[in-house]
Amino acid sequence: MRLLVQNVHKRFGKLEALKGVSLELGAGEILGLLGPNGAGKTTLIKVVLGLLLPDGGEVVLEEGGARRRPQGHEFGVLLEGSRNLYVNLSLLVNALYFGGIRGLPPREVRPRFEAWLERFGLRDRLHAPLASLSRGMQQKAALALALALKPRFLLLDEPTLGLDPVSRREFEGILLELKKEGWGILLTSHDLEVVERVSDRVAFLHRGEVRRQGPTRALLRDWAGEGYRVRLAEPKAEALLKALGPGWSAEGPEVLFFLGPWEALREALGTLPVEVLEVSRGTPSLEALFLHLFGEARPSPSA
């Protein structure tokens, strides 16, 4: 079973939000959809769900040789910036309601929802109103519901938003387990460490176009040796980032990574107010690659 996004175009007035986007998501696979704000990620997800009608192209579900337009209720969804659930009602009522409108009986939804809540440590809040939960807990409850609906594919738009580091780690583990169980997951997140660890493939979307896509490891390998790891004598990496131009990222308090030509690095090193202990060639992280691809989109602070 595969979900195919084929040459999708979407325009809002003068803004061309999607310019011939093509993607593919199979069962048992996590596809990371990355891009800066306004790249078109949420627009694409809404097109897949049928909440937005494309101007061109199509979204197809391919199963056993048959191809058809998928229906919205076949997806488990976390929409970014959306409440996803009724805040004034209990978690259980929310689950039964949103399961019901997708045609699922309570006897199917309730045990699955309770099992997911148990896994998220929220089982004892089943009858509590959503409003009484913290932002992170609400996000977990919405995710538990998306999973309890047992959809064909999961579309998660910024699912780690509001989660604490521990919950984020748990969430990562859950994504990997879901993948093993055969779920197809489309994941958009600015939490690039999570995406790097869990995704099989990534697609970089910029101004409505897929700039690059491919297996995560292979994409990073393509850039192996193209970047430089700079070890500092003092833990000032984060502070220095503000003054450095595009292409720079921090890999820890004392380590900077630069993805770009040697000449640019040499020029930047000359201006660093901190002693440099070591410079070595290295493979970039997804964050470094992201900054390299999209850092130029905004003027650098020093410009």
Binding site: F75, N84, G103
Partner: protein, 253 residues
């Protein structure tokens, strides 16, 4: 599948009523007090009471309950669209099996049934307080049907506007003039009222509530008119739903 979609709307209605029980109770009391004080006021206008004005209290009570139901239905879909958009859950309703339109229609149906329950709960204390007997004709549900379907058609039209503009309360005030024919036709029905919205249905309802015989011609006219409004409402809603999905306005508030 459809039964679970309908069941989920009952679940939501019941839980919202429970959650906001105080407001529900206050609304019920307000409705009873409003009508009771109106009747007292009218009775005090003449020393001979309401009968001298040609008003029969029993049918008047029933018409009042029906009016509440029709007005409630009329606003239901637009109100659902507006509140879901404000909460940020409208797009999730769009993921319902069969789509948003089906789910909103099911919700309107459930809200209609809740409206009937509310009306009956309003009638009960009024009947006891005023000591009147309600003697509608046995075919009264048939009399109510065209009016309800016409109101549903208008509700879909208002829902279509709410999908596009989200907040349409101001427009409601203007559109409520559509209910004037409802009141005209409660007194008498004349040929020129045939094409007025709600007029044939309301007159049919009057016949039912005053215990008169059903008029097949009028029933047919009211049903045809109601189905036309319903069809137009469905078309408007489907058309605007597609338009807002093209323009990316569905989830915006």
């Amino acid at each position: 599948m459809l039964c679970w979609q309908l069941w989920s709307e009952f679940l939501l209605e019941w839980n919202l009523t429970r959650r906001y029980w105080f407001d529900t109770l206050a609304g019920l009391l307000a409705s009873v007090l409003f009508f009771y004080s109106m009747v007292l006021g009218l009775e005090n206008l003449t020393p001979e009471g309401l009968a001298s004005l040609g008003l029969d209290l029993g049918p008047l009570l029933l018409v009042f309950a029906a009016f509440n139901l029709v007005v409630g239905t009329f606003q239901s879909i637009a109100y659902s669209v507006q509140s879901e958009a404000a909460l940020g859950t409208l797009e999730h309703l769009g993921l319902a099996r069969g789509g948003l339109l089906r789910q909103l229609l099911l919700r309107a149906l459930v809200q209609g049934l809740a409206g009937i329950t509310f009306s009956l709960l309003t009638l009960l204390p009024l009947v006891l307080l005023l000591g009147v007997r309600l003697t509608p004709a046995s075919w009264w549900p048939l009399g109510l049907l065209p009016l309800y379907l016409a109101a549903l058609g208008f509700a879909l039209g208002m829902g279509a506007l709410a999908l596009q503009f989200k907040r349409v309360e101001g427009f409601f005030t203007i559109v409520q003039f559509l209910f004037l024919p409802y009141f005209f036709s409660l007194v008498r029905f004349e040929p020129w009222m045939t094409h007025l919205p709600f007029a044939p249905g309301a007159y049919l309802l009057r016949l039912a509530f005053t215990g008169e015989e059903v008029s097949p011609g009028l029933l047919l006219l009211a049903l045809v008119q109601a189905l036309l409004f319903l069809g137009a409402g469905l078309f408007a809603m489907a058309w605007v739903y597609a338009a807002v999905r093209r323009r990316g306005l569905l989830g915006r508030y």
